[in-house]
């Protein structure tokens, strides 16, 4: 007779699987919203730390947050683990994009083998999650974050709250795995009316921006779990801010057996970097060990910024960070003005003590995310220069950021302080200044920039042309958004875009001039009657030919 109750060993295994499945689920989701391509290596020898036989890195802070949310519990009926992904603009408006739900229902599969089938199916489910996280609309948005918005995540445990997703949200099921204690379900509910925001938002369409404004969120369900930016930097060398080791940093080397079920062996071994190879035992050990994973995320992940603990309000918890307003993948541009002639978002007032050419990140002070710049700084950009004088109060306070806020369309400030140079269009200095041309839409055609001198402006404008006069020679041609390939963020005095503009109106070829054209056309017209006569004679042949083609 089959033992229908779960053995205590199986129960322990199952709980452990579910716990680590939940943690890995969170890692996959958050990593998929970092804005970067993820790459992990396959390894033919089991390393002993790769749960579900998948190479999924563990970002310590994310694990910490997940564990905090779970508080030692496991997903159960009515107690779901939710990862909420939202977008927050530089204006402070935010909008929920997705809720990923890991739920448990009551439908049990008593006969399924825990250590084998459930484990493998959880592995398959994680693979499905990897695939699905790339096909919801938020993925493409998250790949473009950093300039105008960032993507945040929040983990909570309990009842699923979908009301923040707006009307008509859609759901996609990632998959289910039946277990003896219930069926695990993983799904995603996502807002759909951002589908058309994918690449063109923030560039010219006020109605879309209107959606964000309308969704200024005072969280309807104030929860205790704070929001975090998806992209962050593991603190440089300050060790593990969150202990990457907890009392049970467990590894799992599974051994499977092809012999009949009664003999299947599931083993967990301790793997320690300095110890001899794992010894296979036949019981499940709860490892107590100090695994100091140095979570070395690859050096290409330069968009990470420290998620400071900041003096967080319950709602905003982790202030939002920006990578200096530039594509985060090119941090080398975060240098002082005048270097390389590129766009240096950092004004001539770096934060205290920072070297201009050294990238540092810090967190804005809570509640003062976008403080106005001091009067002496350039009027056309607002800079948040956060001192590192211990105010950050976070474990990451080694790093500072110079934070530039792009002045967007909804800024509550006099229009003449908005400068085109801040628009995220290349060659902004070439765009026409006439505001009448585009329905007064400041996103498309911002007003003239003031003639103030600032290091930022100085480096943007090419020699010999001041910002406001360049556009005049091109009044007849409205160039709104000119993005020649390969030159998006590159505002140098002479480059592809400039070249194109200068040579886009070459003189006419003489052979195309009107009199020669008229001449040959007249000849053609004259010869037409002759040709028509010939064709009419052969009309029967043509008809027969056409028949064969039918």
């Amino acid at each position: 007779a089959m033992d229908t109750d779960l053995s205590s060993q199986d129960r322990k295994d199952l709980d452990k699987f579910i716990k680590f499945f939940a943690l890995k689920t969170v890692q996959v989701i958050v990593q998929a919203r970092l804005g970067e391509k993820i790459c992990t290596r396959s390894s033919s020898s089991p390393t002993g730390s790769d749960w579900f036989n998948l190479a999924i890195k563990d970002i310590p802070e994310v694990t910490h947050e997940a564990k905090k949310a779970l508080a030692g519990q496991l997903p159960a009926v009515g107690r779901s683990m939710c990862v909420e992904i939202s977008l927050k603009t530089s204006e402070g408006d935010s909008m929920e994009l997705e809720i990923w739900c890991l739920e448990m229902n009551e439908k049990c599969d008593k006969e399924i083998k825990v250590s084998y089938t459930v484990y493998n199916r959880l592995s398959l489910l994680l693979k499905s999650l990897l695939a699905i996280t790339r096909v919801t609309p938020a993925y493409r948005l998250s790949r473009k974050q950093g300039h105008e918005y960032v993507i945040l995540y929040r983990i909570y445990f309990g009842e699923v709250q979908l009301s923040g997703l707006g009307e008509g949200f859609q759901t996609v099921r990632v998959g289910t795995v039946g277990t003896p204690v219930g069926t695990i379900t993983l799904s995603c509910a996502y807002r759909i009316n951002l589908a058309f925001m994918s690449t063109r938002q923030f560039e010219r369409t006020p109605p879309i921006m209107g959606i964000i404004i309308d969704h200024f969120v005072d969280r309807p369900y104030p929860s205790s779990s704070p929001m975090h930016p998806c992209n962050y930097r593991a603190g440089e060398d300050n060790g593990a801010v969150y202990p990457s080791v907890e009392d049970s940093q467990e590894v799992c080397t599974t051994s499977f057996s092809t012999s009949p079920p009664s003999q299947s062996v599931f083993t967990v071994t301790k793997a320690h970097f300095q110890t001899p190879p794992p010894v296979v035992t036949d019981t499940l050990k709860v490892p107590v060990m100090g695994l100091a994973f140095s979570h070395q995320l690859s050096s290409s992940r330069l968009s990470y910024q420290p998620a400071a603990l900041g003096v967080g309000s319950a709602d905003m918890g982790y202030p939002v960070l920006f990578a200096g307003g530039l594509n985060a993948a090119h941090p080398h541009q975060l240098i002082g003005p005048g270097k390389e002639g590129g766009v240096p978002p950092i004004p001539s007032q770096p934060a205290h003590g920072t070297q201009a050419d050294q990238e540092r990140m810090c967190t804005p002070l809570d509640g003062v995310h976008y403080s106005a710049a001091t009067p002496s700084s350039s009027e056309d950009t607002e800079t948040v220069s956060n001192s590192s004088e211990g105010k950050c109060g976070s474990p990451h306070d080694l790093l500072e950021t110079i934070f530039i806020r792009k002045v967007g369309a909804f800024v509550n400030k006099p229009i003449n302080q908005v400068t085109m140079a801040n628009l995220d269009i290349p060659f902004a200095m070439f765009a026409p200044k006439n505001i009448e041309l585009e329905d007064n839409d400041p996103m498309v055609n911002p007003p003239e920039s003031p003639e103030t001198e600032s290091p930022l402006q100085g480096s943007l404008h090419s020699e010999g042309s001041s910002g406001s006069s360049t556009g005049n020679t091109h009044d007849d041609f409205v160039m709104i958004d000119f993005k020649p390939a390969f030159s998006k963020d590159d505002i140098l005095p002479m480059d592809l875009g400039t070249f194109y503009r200068e040579f886009q109106n070459p003189p006419q070829l003489s052979s195309l001039s009107i009199d020669i054209g008229a001449q040959s056309m007249a000849e053609d017209l004259d010869s037409l009657p002759e040709k028509l006569a010939v064709h009419e004679k052969n009309v029967k042949e043509f008809d027969a030919f056409v028949e064969t083609l039918q």
Binding site: S43, A131, S259
Partner: protein, 233 residues
């Protein structure tokens, strides 16, 4: 996707049910490769495990599968594939051949590529081993020609959206947890898995394709098309 059952082509042995899934995409010529790779890699992501290491007493351990994101150049789309250069090369080779065949055939740009997972069943001499399929994926491709850049841009996005749907479809099928070959013993592992790769272990698979030519021989089709197009001026 459509779901049907087809029987394995074997004579003496009882037919084993093989589930078949069909996906259809319409793409521009230059999108064929990326679209096919996206679908095939997504399927193989779910149908590959880490390398098995057999130990004594019939137990085995499983290696680790890494994954990586791939961005498409001609489609607004990204997908995840298994981190295995060997596997990627094998798929690219097959897809490349398919793409060339599509282009050279002169057909109306219709064809299909099939990914079949099978098990090997050893037979006694003089019979050769049988290949018994247990899952068959068919991707029907329709190549469209676009007139201008604006249409191409729209196509980039539309095909991207379509591929998102296909990925969701594939994941749905995978989630049904239907028949999978039993985990083999060490002596049987090569009848179930492709153990030739050094870092991952997909189920045994084969890729084949055919070009649909609805009008008969491909030469006639090309000539007719040429003349038709000329006269259409």
């Amino acid at each position: 996707p459509h779901r049907t059952r087809c029987c394995a082509p074997s004579g003496a042995t009882p037919a084993m049910n093989c589930r078949a899934e069909v996906l259809e995409v319409s793409v521009e010529g230059r999108q064929v490769e990326e679209a096919m790779l996206a679908v095939l890699h997504t399927i193989l992501l779910h149908r590959s495990t880490g390398k098995f290491h057999y130990k004594k007493e019939g137990t085995y351990s499983i290696g680790t599968v890494g994954t990586q994101d791939v961005d498409c150049d001609f489609i607004d789309f990204a997908y995840v594939r298994v981190s295995s250069e060997e596997l990627d090369r094998a798929l690219r080779k097959a897809v490349g051949e398919f793409k060339d065949a599509l282009r050279n055939s002169g057909s109306d740009g219709m064809g299909q590529i099939s990914l079949e997972f099978y098990q090997k069943k050893k037979s006694r001499w003089p019979f050769s081993d049988e290949c018994i399929p247990w899952e068959l994926w068919t991707i029907k491709v329709n190549v469209v020609n676009l007139a201008n850049e604006q249409e191409r841009q729209i196509c980039r996005e539309k095909v991207g959206e379509k591929l998102c749907e296909k990925i969701i479809n594939i994941v749905e099928v995978m989630n049904r947890h239907e028949y999978l070959p039993k985990m083999p013993t060490q002596s049987e592992v090569d009848n179930v898995f492709d153990t030739s790769l050094k870092d991952v272990q997909p189920y045994l698979y084969k890729i084949s394709y055919q070009i649909t030519d609805s009008l008969g021989t491909s030469v006639t089709t090309t000539m007719r098309r040429l003349i038709k197009d000329t006269l259409a001026l």
